[in-house]
């Protein structure tokens, strides 16, 4: 019984960490070119609604995901324009996008509230692996997008550390002035990667409305975009650690089910709050041990620093 519970809990945790992991991967790309985007919460909401609307009006979940990516990109492109071209403060612009996301999805999505997705993201049982006792149930009977989400950090790692493109990308985030002198168009790079990050956020939102939950509910992201930001910091901006952070968030979220199954008698609100509080606590603990060892945490040196040629 305990092994069954463990297997189903891991399965739920993997499911619950998917959206956060996708959003965090996108946020990591943006932060690695030096842009701190708290607007991804808004992009996620926009993606969740757009994904459901597009799926239900065309009947194809693939088109829904594409629409979610496009809308997420659009929202983040507006964010990118305001910060990179109009020189707006990143926190202000991010907050504005989040508010726009909450407000516009509330207004435009009123007819879609609790409407079920006509086609869900397909589940995919991996041949052979899904037949392994317990382990198969835990890891290999997920939504197809979940596998992509867990592979994506590896792709980003390869991009960042094994390609010239990735070297340039990191340079833009670490030292925009040096990158500019080396002939990299910093503003364009920032705009492009913030927009790509928005596509991730949009798809992350659509994973909720087309997969994990399967309907549109206003405010359904419930802060997962903000959690993604915390996970990026937890991961010290290293793509592979994102998997760990996201899984931790998912696992903390499933503890409530475990507690119910085992009859622990702790109020359910405690377990609902645990993913947020626990992620934060682990973030602080990790940073504390790291500062004990190495001083400052290794964030991209240009993170949050606006870049305009000749502004210094």
């Amino acid at each position: 019984v305990t092994l069954n519970l463990l297997a189903s809990s891991i399965a739920t945790a993997t499911l619950a960490s998917t959206a956060v992991l996708i959003a965090a991967t996108g946020e990591l790309l943006a932060e690695r070119v030096g842009v701190f985007n708290i607007g991804i919460e808004g992009s996620m909401l926009a993606g969740a609604l757009a994904g459901l609307v597009a799926t239900n009006s065309t009947g194809h979940v693939g088109i829904g995901l594409l629409a979610a990516a496009a809308v997420g990109m659009g929202a983040s492109f507006v964010f990118g324009l305001t910060i990179a071209v109009f020189r707006a403060n990143m926190v202000v612009a991010g907050l504005a996008i989040t508010f726009l996301g909450i407000g516009l999805t509330g207004v435009l999505g009123q007819d879609y509230v609790r409407q079920a997705a006509e086609q869900r993201i397909p589940r995919w049982n991996i041949p052979f692996l899904s037949e392994i006792p317990y382990l198969g149930e835990a890891l290999f009977r997920q939504f197809s997008l979940t596998y992509v989400a867990f592979l994506m950090p590896f792709a980003v790692w390869f991009l960042l550390y094994r390609t010239r493109h990735g070297l340039n990308l990191r340079a833009v985030g670490e030292s925009p002035v040096a990158a500019d002198v080396a002939g990299i168009a910093v503003t364009v790079w920032r705009l492009v990667y913030v927009t790509i990050g928005g596509a991730f956020a949009g798809v992350a939102g659509a994973f909720l409305s087309l997969g994990q939950v399967g309907t549109w509910i206003p405010g359904m992201t419930s802060g997962q975009g903000f959690v993604a930001i915390a996970i990026v910091i937890f991961a010290s901006w290293e793509p592979l650690f994102l998997i760990l952070g996201a899984f931790l968030f998912g696992a903390l979220g499933t503890l409530g089910n475990v507690a119910q199954a085992l009859g622990w008698g702790v109020p359910s609100e405690f377990f609902s709050a645990l993913p947020y509080a626990g992620t934060l606590a682990v973030l602080y603990a990790v940073t504390w041990t790291r500062t004990q060892r190495a001083g400052q945490p290794p964030w991209p040196a240009g993170l949050g620093v606006p870049f305009f040629r000749g502004a210094d």
Partner: protein, 384 residues
């Protein structure tokens, strides 16, 4: 890209010039906020059945045209003043308190706890005690992100943001569990607070203004005076504009940073308690609808000025009234949030634009030295 910008600007006969120091910031901020508000109302009107003239007269009646309107606006503005200050004071040091929502609920929780523990105490001392408790509750809720910011260097943004969601479940636990209203099962709301904890209204002419609004205005003025004319205020200004200089001047930067954040959290908590004793009279999720985040927007638009917070709190209350008149979409609050977001986008761009100036093209006589220097650097006027 820069070349394109320059080309477009040249065709328009306009030129963008970089300012060495941002100029006319207040003008740009206020101007762009006004543009944002007008644009968002225009968009909302376009999707609404309400006609323009009808809307304008309804808006006037609903805000300043009638005593009821004045009462509505001041009532809506009251929590916004507190939450605006809660974000605005840390912003003087460049710190972002985006956890006002959670601090508000924790402050109100402490106040409600005091009221339920001392149900027989007479009104004025009880309310005073509740407000003190709320200050403590709010300060406590910001303590962890504040300490992490000062001692670990972790951005206060993440901590204050995530604790909002923890506070949300804290509200549910108390309002649905311990303090449940035995008469109504629906909604996240506690039983009524003791009668004597109700904050009265002031009579200003024909209008009734909540006492909480007067308290908020008073606090804003006090903080404004403190920052203007005390040693601590001077140190805050110095630390905000030049942390290095402040450090070398021997200012206790850590203590000051913590203090400023605690004051922010405490004021958010007080805002929650004032909203509870003034309006809602229960503990529950009706105490706030993203008020903490709206406070951040107000603080940004006010640009670190307490007087600005007062002004924009009233402006945003008027926008809420306007949104209620239009009622596009599912709930009127959704429309208002979209309008706030759009206003903030414009305001953010306006703040950035304060760094450049648009001038009608008047080609200055360039001597050869300037021309060759410009050709060498490849840098010019138009690269926005």
């Amino acid at each position: 890209v820069n070349r394109w910008f320059r080309a477009i600007a040249t065709i328009g006969g306009l030129r963008l010039e970089r300012r060495t120091t941002p100029g006319g910031t207040i003008r740009y901020r206020a101007g762009s906020a006004v543009v944002g508000i007008v644009v968002s109302f225009a968009l909302a009107l376009a999707f609404s059945d309400v006609g323009v003239s009808e809307f304008v007269s309804d808006l006037w009646d609903g805000t300043f045209g009638t005593p009821e309107g004045i009462e509505d606006v001041t009532t809506l503005a009251t929590p916004l003043v507190f939450l605006g200050l809660a974000a605005s004071i840390p912003l003087r040091l460049g710190l972002w308190n985006v956890g006002g929502e959670g601090q508000l609920f924790l402050g109100a929780w402490a106040a409600a706890g005091i009221a339920f523990l001392l149900p027989t105490m007479s009104g004025p001392p009880l309310i005073a005690l509740m407000l003190l408790g709320a200050l403590g509750g709010g300060a406590l809720w910001i303590a962890i992100p504040a300490l992490a910011r000062v001692y670990l260097g972790v951005s206060e943004i993440v901590g204050t943001l995530l604790l909002n969601f923890v506070a949300g479940y804290w509200v549910i636990y108390w309002a649905v569990g311990k303090w449940r209203d035995p008469l109504s099962a629906a909604g996240v709301r506690s039983e009524l607070l003791p009668d004597q904890s109700e904050l009265p209204h002031l009579h200003v002419g024909a209008a009734e203004v909540p006492v909480g609004f007067a308290i908020g205005v008073g606090i804003a003025l006090i903080i404004w005076l403190v920052v203007r004319s005390t040693r601590t205020g001077y140190e805050i200004t110095m630390l905000g504009s030049s942390p290095r200089a402040a450090h070398f001047a021997g200012i206790q930067t850590r203590a000051l940073t913590l203090g400023v954040l605690f004051v922010g959290g405490a004021l958010a908590g007080a805002g929650g308690a004032v909203q509870m004793v003034g309006e809602v009279h229960r503990y529950g999720d009706a105490l706030s609808n993203l008020t903490g985040f709206i406070g951040v927007i107000i603080a940004v638009l006010a640009g670190g000025s307490e007087i600005g917070v007062l002004i924009f709190a009233v402006v945003f209350a008027c926008i809420s009234v306007g949104g209620n008149i239009l009622r596009v979409g599912g709930t009127s609050s959704d429309l208002v949030f979209a309008m706030f977001g759009l206003t903030l986008v414009f305001a953010a761009m306006g703040q950035g634009l304060a760094h450049v100036r648009v001038v009608v093209r008047r080609r200055p006589r360039e001597d050869s030295l300037v021309r060759s220097a410009r050709a060498l650097s490849g840098d010019g006027a138009g690269d926005a």
